[in-house]
Symmetry: C2
Subunit: 453 residues, 2 copies
Amino acid sequence: MGVGHHEAAWRHPRTDSRNLSSVKHFQNLAQIAERGLLDSVFFADGLAVDPRVKHNIQAIFEPITLLTAIASATEHIGLIATASTGYLHPYTLARSFASLDHISGGRAGWNIVTSAGADEAANFGFDGIPDHAGRYRRAAEFVDIATALWDSWEDDALILDEATGIFADPAKVHSIDHSGEQFTVAGPLNSPRSPQGRPLLVQAGSSETGRDFAARYAEAIFTAQRSVEEGRAFYRDVKARAVAFGRSADDVLILPGIVPFLGPTAAAARELEQEFTDLISPEYSLRQLSQMLGVDLTAHALDAPLRPLPPIEQIQGNKSRYQLVKDLADHEALTVRQLIAKLGGGRGHRTIAGTPEQVADDLQEWFTAGAADGFNIMPPYLPGGLEDFVEQVVPILRRRGLFRTEYTATTLRGHYGLSHQPSRFTLHRERAGLLPDTPGKDSSSRTLVTAEQ
Amino acid sequence: MGVGHHEAAWRHPRTDSRNLSSVKHFQNLAQIAERGLLDSVFFADGLAVDPRVKHNIQAIFEPITLLTAIASATEHIGLIATASTGYLHPYTLARSFASLDHISGGRAGWNIVTSAGADEAANFGFDGIPDHAGRYRRAAEFVDIATALWDSWEDDALILDEATGIFADPAKVHSIDHSGEQFTVAGPLNSPRSPQGRPLLVQAGSSETGRDFAARYAEAIFTAQRSVEEGRAFYRDVKARAVAFGRSADDVLILPGIVPFLGPTAAAARELEQEFTDLISPEYSLRQLSQMLGVDLTAHALDAPLRPLPPIEQIQGNKSRYQLVKDLADHEALTVRQLIAKLGGGRGHRTIAGTPEQVADDLQEWFTAGAADGFNIMPPYLPGGLEDFVEQVVPILRRRGLFRTEYTATTLRGHYGLSHQPSRFTLHRERAGLLPDTPGKDSSSRTLVTAEQ
């Protein structure tokens, strides 16, 4: 939303709720992240709002347009927008991201979501929560089409010969002629190939189906993991799945989310966290929890333990988040009031309250233990929580050789150490022996975390 | 495309084809227009590209993202993006325009097109050219939904009370519960109301059905008219239709397109036009003509008259442009080579080659004769053609009292002399006597053309 990841952030004196509608504020946030040499900024998204909730905080801006405005105010940082395969069309989505990639000079990323909410379905003519497996089938077909469209103009298709009037080489502009279960799309895309070829593909599915989808398609995975052990297990599992899909383990980066509360002492950081917890509106949180679980808990007693939830097999919404909340409630024997306080910071992502050294230690532990390739930093309040992270935690990581000292790439794929992918049509030609090989992935250019392990 | 409206502009020495992919170039174009105190910049659009055409010039950027990038580089000028009711969804479209309106501080406009091309249909799973009447039925339902969604948050719905944690007044956030022939949409929009309430609605339909649609919905109409007599007839007709729909004649502005070639003498201007004509690629132009008419003329002899075309009743594409081209070919007894030269500048829009005084005289004549409320200036080449218009023609119009001397409004609706529309839900409450009246349209604020007649 721009005021912070804690759900009550907009009420805290460290934020200004007028920033919700200030483009300059969002541009400033990205500039702070860029000063810290972070890889990218990322906006979540949904396609509905509940009209009944007076405590409901609602974003003002749509991510692709907002990131386009941010592109004009920054030079290096990657720009990752969430967009849904559930209710958009692959032709228009592929084109919007190609345009963002052109406008930003190769900094676009797409966080692929499948839209599990019944309220979202109702805005697009569907009843109820769409079937989990069907959502992922549609997502796979959608991504297959989008990537084919991004490949439909080869890198060197544009000729632009003013003397002869030849604009493009028709041998390098391709129809895709897709005909599948959900979509029929002729192509080519109505946009020449963008600087990155395609946006960085990001995904957050952590269920069984979601992990397979992410391992097959994603180049970066956002995930909520509670402990370093669970994080390592997830990390190993997804990398193994990627290899089973014929990819390299390095082709997909695992980025757990963390919500850092920073203070000069651990006690001060915990006090700050408590200030935010005290601002939580239980009515809003119960609605959030109900939406997260797909179970109506809006009338649940606050000081009782969470009532038994249905088995996960019956859940059509976000299965991994469902499991995580269920585990939290069961294993830590929390009351609902304690549970919503725990979820208030990052909706299931891990909150760390501590000194900058302690937060840096935690990130280093996860990274060296093989539970993370990097992190999705979710400051509880903005801009202060991001400024503090950039000014206090990043320098410690940098001293330890765990963080870059300058941007060495110009694209988001470059920041993540991923190479430019040639179009599939160029590769077909290469395989047919008509062209020399193009350079492949150069793993030495990996710049996400310049680790000394 | 950014290099000019003449189809061969990118080949002429006065343009630089690298500008096609330069965001800074497009930002500069808008800044030039803003220096001239023009109302708005406008980008056409389509949802397909023909892979076979090597002379085919293809835009790099998608209009909504491009205009968002332009918003960051300008302060006053309106930003009109073309978007299709044929293949987008009203929920996502309403949201993108709301976001552009928020980001630009109330400068968004939507040029509503229905997408008549068979190649566009093939990218969205349809065969052949969609039926003309069906396209307009879908467009009407689409615009009804979009306007309802823009109204779904009333102007004062946001409370943002940090002390009580009340974000919005749920009595002022509304479901729309639309259920129609093409769409079922629950609402509300997932974006609070934008500065203009809704974007300016622009349309270019000039067929019978198109005129009715425009008269019912549009606040500005782009149109191609060949003579001042035809322009006056169109003007009177559309205004009368608007009145028949219960609107004021002032609620819809008629803006014919013109392609100005400027020179120090009329002969020099005509020579410049001829330079561009000489760069036309007949292969490309025949494809363009075929696409414009929905009739395959790619193998037509160039020095013969246009072969007889089918009657307009059989045309499912752009009927008014079809009629205009047919009239041109018939009445002026042109060969196909002459016809494509005539269409090369503005695809049916009127080309004026002359001195700045002559161009100003022409615009004044149309304006005072009641054939135009303003004009859509389509410079044949960019940025020079726009710079010349702003520096040479606008000052003449200003001296004659026909053009503003400063921006007096902050929104695009304000530039066009249209008032902020309250949400329909606010109006319902007013009618029920629960609120005092809000101020209505103030026609004295009309600033499009500050005429002294």
